[in-house]
Subunit: 137 residues, 2 copies
């Protein structure tokens, strides 16, 4: 059916060529990695609620370093998913919000997060069973 097959088919096709991990990757894979990245996921979900200022976002996420948040926001802004609004005031004030494109991505990501939250208990049980089975040999 599936576009998913087509999608991964493209990945495979890319692999057949002169693909190298560190170098240029196809745009599709890149945007996917950006939105599924460690901090990208959390930023998108936060911004789905409302716009945030930089350090407000930092506090909301809680474990992200300033460097990684900056880097993540720049990547998402470059991909056209996040809008950066720097106000020329002192002290500086910068608001981040989702673009229409970013909102689409964020809603997909939120679906994933909601699933993870809902099924977390079952996953934990599965882990315990797996570990117990391994432990007994």
């Amino acid at each position: 059916m599936t576009v998913s097959t087509e999608v991964t088919g493209k990945v495979a096709a890319e692999a057949a060529g002169k693909y190298t991990v560190g170098a240029v990757m196809c745009p599709y894979r890149l945007v996917l990695e950006h939105v599924t990245s460690r901090w990208g996921v959390l930023v998108l979900i936060e911004l789905l609620d409302r716009p945030y200022r930089f350090s407000e976002l930092r506090r909301a996420i809680g474990t992200v370093s300033e460097k990684m948040l900056t880097q993540t926001l720049q990547t998402l802004e470059r991909d056209g998913l996040v809008h950066r609004d720097a106000k020329p005031v002192i002290p500086p004030r910068v608001d981040y919000s989702l673009t229409d494109l970013g909102r689409e991505a964020a809603e997909q990501v939120r679906g994933l997060a909601l699933w993870a939250e809902a099924r977390m208990g079952e996953v934990e049980k599965a882990r315990e069973m797996y570990d117990a089975a391994k432990g007994r040999g």
Copy 2:
């Protein structure tokens, strides 16, 4: 929504064990990182079509090393998302398939992949505009 990343304590750290990915974090975050991981995403989407044998999956994805595929599959199996069926024959034959839980996750992930594919062009245009704006200073 809340995406608190506060550490839940030593229990989480110890439970993660050798499967720890990066820093210590709550189980919810862990599942999310597993399914959004570089190879986890591709494995889940591939398995959405049908069961795969190990090296069949390796060829289908195309760029994944044997080591990373093994590691990814073990993580997803431990989380109860992937079922491993090792047949006692020579030469060995191992089939991987999605569990019901895994299928739910995979469908969410596919949604993300489909979005990325559909909007890839717009993202590329956004990147060009961003780079052009930066280039002009």
